[in-house]
């Protein structure tokens, strides 16, 4: 693998890959049973150069910002390489956001160039706030012939001949601006430097070294911090191969595991849970003796892999399961949200270890990672190399807020010095998560200090961001809380939101008010919905400027009502 200490930027290290492994395959893009493209490292460089040159001709250079909004495809990585080659700052945006939210973040990031797909661009041009967008150039892929491009240019035409000047960047320069949460009033754009990424990458590949020939299946979108690191920078630094699928339908994902002999992939807990459900069903549907045999073999596998994974042995013991995953699967990476220990244990017993980690965008992706030696289902692993982690103000059980310090911690939130100062104090990143260390140095997560939840899909939801969905409800006041913020508990599974309703004086909360609240709730994206409702008959405490004092209100509610007082919404 490339020694990252010799490089100062992602652009420099990606450029070096073509010299290290010119003939190794770096990228495969497949669509259903077809293969669209396959590039060696040299070919990847050759296809990116004309795009980098086109960027240069647009005046794009040191510190210029360019956004990518694409589903998983080879052009995501090619565009990113072009941006880094020209010394630019990449703004990876989530293609699942609404067009209005994408415009908001494009404006906030001050991106000059946008690489996107035709259908995404068409939705953006139809958004109410489209006229607020000011971009120098929009480049679209997948545009049908004769399509109206509303000022954009086709990917195929965004190309220029001639030598591209490589722009040198320092380690302390910004590499990416990554938005870490919803798009409420204050978007959180984490500014991550080249040093942040190179440090994080070095720590991760020390634990899980990829090799030329190792194939990683990219299922998470590449704008996701985990896939960007484990499904782009990490494999490229090691000369491995990234496989992109243009469809995420389960039947084609299953086929891809087999066809491409996949060794690693990354998932969010929700997807892992879905695979678990399918496998459990498959075992349950089998004849009695096979069921008995499977359970017996899983127990034997668990005993034989107690100290470390033994992939070959596990494949011999449970061949059917392993064949279904292509027979070469080494591990799943999972992160972005809490994963239930029972799920992790189930996969480990099958001989498919799950490298469970913990982190946040602000920390440069991962803070801790399970190194599987030995496997632990009840922790999120040990701090990565170079990462200092401490528990702030621990209680009698050793539980307190998790704080982290490392060269991979972001430089700050874009244009938000106050928010940065609240989050990073004396060099320590305060995560807002509650945890403790066990005697072996593994971190256990036990709750949140902040009023927020993380869904099983890995989405961070701040209750304040969804309150406007309930505006104009016929009540005196309302407020949304994370259930575990109102009533703390040592548990991170199944986090929920609670809508607190304060009726007008002398008015009861009627079924019609509840129905109106439920209707507004249904209009929210499913992962943002409130699950429960609580009726509260006291005035909300407020600041002089009439803002709700959330912590004081939560404390009042906590002192008078328990978790059992909520009703389903």
């Amino acid at each position: 693998m490339i020694d990252l200490r010799n490089y100062n930027s992602l652009g420099a290290v990606l450029r070096a890959t073509a010299e290290y492994w010119p003939r190794e395959v770096c990228l495969i893009e497949a669509d259903r049973e077809r293969e669209n493209t396959r590039f060696t490292y040299r070919e990847f460089d050759e296809v990116a150069q004309p795009r980098a040159r086109a960027l240069q001709e647009k005046g794009f250079g040191s510190g210029s910002r360019a956004a990518i909004i694409m589903t998983n495809q080879s052009k995501w990585l090619i565009s990113a390489y072009g941006i880094f080659f020209r010394g630019g700052v990449l703004v990876p945006l989530d293609y699942k956001l609404s067009p209005g939210e994408q415009i908001q973040l494009l404006r906030h990031s001050k991106a000059e160039i946008l690489f996107t797909e035709y259908h995404i661009w068409r939705a953006i041009t139809g958004a109410d706030n489209f006229d607020q967008l000011a971009l120098k150039q929009v480049v679209v892929t997948d545009a049908p012939a004769n399509a109206e491009l509303s000022g954009a240019i086709r990917w195929e035409d965004f190309s220029a001949e001639g030598t591209t000047e490589f722009v040198v960047r320092e380690r302390s320069d910004a590499a990416c601006i990554v938005y870490s949460s919803g798009t409420g009033g204050r978007p959180k754009g984490c500014v991550l430097t080249h040093d942040n990424y190179l440090e994080q990458c070095a720590a991760l590949i020390a634990l899980f070294p990829f090799r030329p020939g190792t194939r990683y299946l990219s299922i998470l979108p590449t704008n996701h911090a985990i896939d960007f690191m484990v499904g782009f920078i990490g494999p490229f630094v090691c000369g491995a191969t990234v496989v992109h699928l243009r469809t995420l339908r389960p039947e084609y994902i299953r086929e891809a595991f087999v066809r491409y002999h996949i060794k690693y992939t990354s998932l969010v807990p929700l997807a892992l849970k879905n695979i678990e459900r399918g496998l459990r069903q498959r075992i349950a549907d089998s004849p009695v003796y096979r069921r008995w045999l499977a359970r017996r073999l899983m127990r034997i596998n668990r005993a034989l892999t107690k100290t470390r994974p033994r992939p070959r042995l596990s494949r011999l013991l449970l061949p059917d399961i392993h064949h279904a995953f292509g027979g070469e699967l080494q591990a799943f990476f999972v992160g972005g949200a809490f994963t239930e220990p029972a799920t992790l244990q189930f996969f480990y017993d099958l001989g498919i270890p799950v490298a469970n980690g913990y982190g946040c965008t602000e920390a440069g992706t991962a803070i801790t990672l399970n190194d599987l030696r030995p496997f632990r289902a009840d922790t999120v692993g040990k701090p990565l190399s170079g990462m200092e982690v401490r528990i702030v103000n621990p209680n009698a059980e050793g539980v307190g807020e998790v704080a982290a310090r490392s060269r991979s911690v972001m430089s700050g939130y874009l244009d938000e010095p106050e928010m940065t100062a609240e989050t990073i104090r004396d060099g320590w990143l305060y995560t807002g998560d509650l945890g403790r260390f066990d005697p072996t140095g593994h971190l256990q997560l036990l709750g949140r200090k902040r009023n927020m939840i993380v869904t099983a899909e890995g989405k961070n939801i701040y209750p304040e961001d969804i309150e406007n969905a309930f505006d104009s409800l016929p009540v005196k006041d309302f407020c949304v809380f994370a259930e575990n913020f109102l009533w703390p508990r040592n548990e991170l599974a199944g986090e929920k939101l609670v809508l607190v309703l304060h009726p007008e004086p002398g008015v009861q909360i009627s079924p019609s008010i509840l129905e109106a609240a439920a209707a507004r709730n249904r209009a929210l994206a499913p992962y943002k919905r409130v699950s429960e409702c609580l009726i509260w008959n006291q005035d909300f405490p407020r600041t002089a400027s009439m803002k709700i004092k959330r912590e004081a209100l939560a404390e009042e509610i906590r002192s008078r009502l328990g978790r059992e007082s909520v009703t389903a919404l």
Binding site: T71, Y95, S98, P99, D142, T247, L248, R249, P250
Partner: protein
Amino acid sequence: MGPEAAREFIGMRTLDQTTEEILTLAAQQFKVARATLSPTDDFFKTLQIDSLQALDLLTRLEHHFHVELPDYELQGVTDFQTLARRIQSRL
């Protein structure tokens, strides 16, 4: 009817017919009464399905209409009517 004529006949499906067939298939697949679904409904909300279940529905629609619908082309499509238009453009 020769192959050319048959193709022409299938191509004569109107947008309304395509929409109606989608609604019927969706109702069957998720076991809801056809009458509860209307073309402008958000299928995630009306059928109470997640993105994986929506992908299953798309696979079924592809088999029914004999078309291929790329996932990326359906990004952001949440109502039956728009889905019907995308399918219609490929018939």
